[in-house]
Symmetry: C2
């Protein structure tokens, strides 16, 4: 495959925001890491902002954008966060500017995120491509959730119930695919990215001057 | 890539109709033949109906469905043709039944067709996926048109004018891609097919019973 996904110079192309989500336990993080390692992909991972302190070795602008509480609140107020949430006293979120600058440079961006966060992004950035990752079966999801530790039956039942509620939200997504094997899931995501670059409207902007002569 | 394009058993999947079109000279036929030879594709070529007589070696139901004029007119009247046209005293067209039966068996169908015919198909079968093939540039299209023979300048100018009118109709298509190299064009079409099988609505029908428990 050439570096351009629709056959015209990639430099003329605005990037696409892929939002990868799905129920917890489905393996979003693993698929996202595997995509990063695929050769030939020009896929940039969205860098989150947070108010928590940097851990040893973490670099500002690479692992996170580290912000003070005041800075983060200012970003929220100025509609500069595509989504955000508070966990254990710290803010986490996706800065709009990093995503938009990267897309404008012609690179695709991938954002791996929980289901609720993805729906926030959709409201603020509906032109994104929303992909929902599914397990091969509910039994397999239960295996993956159970496999994480030695949880009690109650905890597992409660997590499965949350997962099913999350799966119900897939109706808000554009695409859904199964994480049956990580390499298959990656191939499908790359196919979606290629297809989205071949959408008529994206290509039309490149050839419209032909029609004016 | 597994035989299933979204990760659930392909047997449960209804096929997709791909309509491949584009201006004359762009190389639709070459791309279509190359797709047929790609291993791993389960792509069935739509068989046309015609009232012309079979040539030696042509098999009914393989090369064409051979029909009498009366049979063909009956098919038109019963809305059983997705598109049709008359050339040099004979009817040619795409029978709906062959397309629908093949899709219902879970196989994807590809129909390679002129721009005007594709627009007829879109009216009758809007759930098809309409792909427009473009040349890398207008100069290259002119090279391809000129390369076919020793046409006069007037003929070439007139063909280019028709081609530009055809390109204007790409706004009615879902996707557009460049036939810069046949293997690249084939990869893009296969990516579109994979992506379309991952559309949320196609996958939702397979997992909706999960949500009822």
């Amino acid at each position: 495959m050439t570096s351009s996904k629709n056959g015209y110079p990639a430099s003329q192309d605005k990037g696409i925001l892929i939002v990868l989500s799905g129920p917890s336990g489905v393996g979003k993080g693993t698929v996202c890491s595997a995509l990063r390692e695929c050769s030939g992909t020009d896929l940039i991972y969205s860098v989150s902002a947070t108010t928590r302190s940097p851990r040893q070795g973490e670099v500002d602008g690479v692992n996170y954008f580290f912000k003070t509480r005041e800075q983060f609140q200012h970003l929220i107020e100025n509609d500069e966060m595509l989504e955000w949430a508070e966990y254990v006293g710290n803010y986490y979120g996706t800065p709009r500017k990093f995503v938009e600058n990267t897309l404008n440079s012609g690179k695709d961006v991938i954002l791996e995120i929980e289901v609720q966060g993805a729906l926030q992004v959709k409201q603020k950035f509906p032109e994104g491509v929303f992909i929902f990752l599914l397990p091969p079966s509910l039994d397999e999801l239960e295996n993956r959730i159970t496999g994480r530790g030695t949880e009690s039956e109650d905890v597992i039942r409660s997590r499965m119930s949350v997962a099913i509620d999350e799966i119900k939200l897939m109706e808000h997504y554009d695409y859904a695919l199964v994480n049956d094997r990580v390499d298959y899931a990656c191939s499908r995501i790359q196919a979606i990215l290629t297809a989205e670059h071949c959408r008529k409207d994206k290509v039309y902007s490149k050839i419209k001057q032909w029609l004016e002569r």
